[in-house]
């Protein structure tokens, strides 16, 4: 069954149509990459998947986004939705508190108070984020004192701590150096077995490295959506070919 299914999705920022009749679906335990030139609507589409676009003024939607066959724009609890569909942002944005509190923030929000349980969640999440070994002796350290790459892994761990089903990542490595980037990509790979992941990247190499399927957008339209290997070796649409070979623009 499709984990996420997008049906005839149109999105407007006031009068400007940022997404045009998008149809696509993602399976469980797959990594989907969104690529395309700046402003093509990658981030916008990503945000519709956990309704972070609700926070944007003047944003209006038609069409459906189904998570496990349930329309997330229907009558559902947005906070619960965001618990199920976690998000990692472009710039690492840990809260200005200790590493522990950062990771525990989500679970606490959702009513978990028991110290033992929190400890357990924090450790598990940090391990999944491949950052446990680096910080386990310093859980009380302020997260802002970590390096950018470490911060981003903390943010991943933080997102994992609420036990989401889907993980959205908007250019999660664009603010990082190449080595941190590789580390994050590695984390993403290992997360695949437990999560459905959607990642926006402007780095086509990254898309080829990490994703199973790739969607190419242009001016708000979904041009091509294919297995990554196929899309990058034998794209069907000329515009895709032009973009990935750098002939675009």
């Amino acid at each position: 069954m499709d984990k996420i299914k997008i049906e005839n999705l149109n999105l407007y920022y006031n009068d400007f149509q940022a997404l045009k009749n998008i149809n696509m679906s993602t399976q469980q335990n797959k990594i989907t990459a969104f690529i395309g030139p700046s402003g093509c609507g990658k981030s916008t589409l990503l945000k519709t998947l956990n309704r972070m676009n609700d926070l944007v003024e003047g944003c209006r939607i038609t069409g459906k986004v189904l998570l496990d066959n349930e329309d997330i724009y229907g009558n559902i609890d947005v906070n619960m939705l965001r618990k199920r569909v976690g998000m990692v942002f472009q710039k690492p944005n840990p809260f200005p508190m200790s590493i522990y509190d950062n990771v525990a923030y989500g679970p606490r929000t959702h009513g978990i108070r028991s110290k033992r349980k929190l400890d357990e969640i924090v450790e598990r999440s940090l391990r999944l984020g491949a950052i446990w070994d680096e910080v386990k002796d310093n859980l009380n350290k302020n997260a802002l004192q970590l390096s950018g790459g470490q911060q981003q892994r903390i943010c991943i761990a933080r997102a994992l701590a609420v036990n989401p089903e889907v993980l959205l990542m908007d250019e999660p490595t664009s603010a990082l150096d190449p080595i941190s980037t590789l580390k994050i990509e590695e984390v993403i790979q290992t997360l695949k077995k437990d999560y459905t992941i959607v990642i926006v990247t402007h780095n086509m190499q990254q898309a080829t490295r990490v994703s199973d399927k790739t969607a190419f957008f242009l001016l708000g339209e979904l041009i091509e959506y294919e297995d990554t290997e196929i899309l990058f070796s034998t794209p069907k649409d000329q515009r895709t070919e032009d973009y990935i070979t750098g002939r675009f623009g």
């Binding site: 190499q205 070796s233 034998t234 070919e241 990935i244 070979t245 750098g246 002939r247």
Partner: protein, 220 residues
Amino acid sequence: MRSRFDKELDLLNNELIEMASLVEKSIENVTQALIHKDVELAKEVIEADKEIDNMENNIEARCLRLILQQHPVARDLRLISSILKMITDLERIGDQAQDIGEILLTLSKQNFKRDLIYLPKMAEATIKMVKESIDAFVNSDIELANQVIEYDDVVDNLFVTIKDELITLIREDVDFGEQSIDLLMIAKYFERIGDHAQNIAEWVVFSITGEHAGERKIQD
């Protein structure tokens, strides 16, 4: 940067075409040498092989450099990797022309006992294949490439005909044995040239469509 890359790709293309035309020339020459028992021409062919090998090395280095620098994807990557493979085939064709040339040197020392009817025909057929495979590359002509792939059967059949012919001849004339072995070798070489031309045609198809035209020709 794209424009620089495109320039480099053009250069690569040109070099490949140049190499291909050298190879074409070689097999044409060696065929002429065979028909006219022209030792000098045979020697020329043997000489030419060095040049071809050189070109192969250059093109190969250029391909690797482009892969290193430009991270080609999609059509670009297919093109470069096809070229990387095609030059192996071209080089082999060059080698085989050279080999034929060398046999001709020994043959011409003896007197040809007989003229074979089918050998020049076979030579012509393979030349046609090589030429057309290159044309297919230059013009990105899938149809022509497929024709080349088909045509290999003709060459294979010719080889069987020649082999049978030779065996009959040996039976007729023992002294012809040594010569017949050499002639068979030559036929075999042409047959293999045909195979390599077919391979080239298949790489052409791959570079355009991204799919291998059926299983590549695998038997000699």
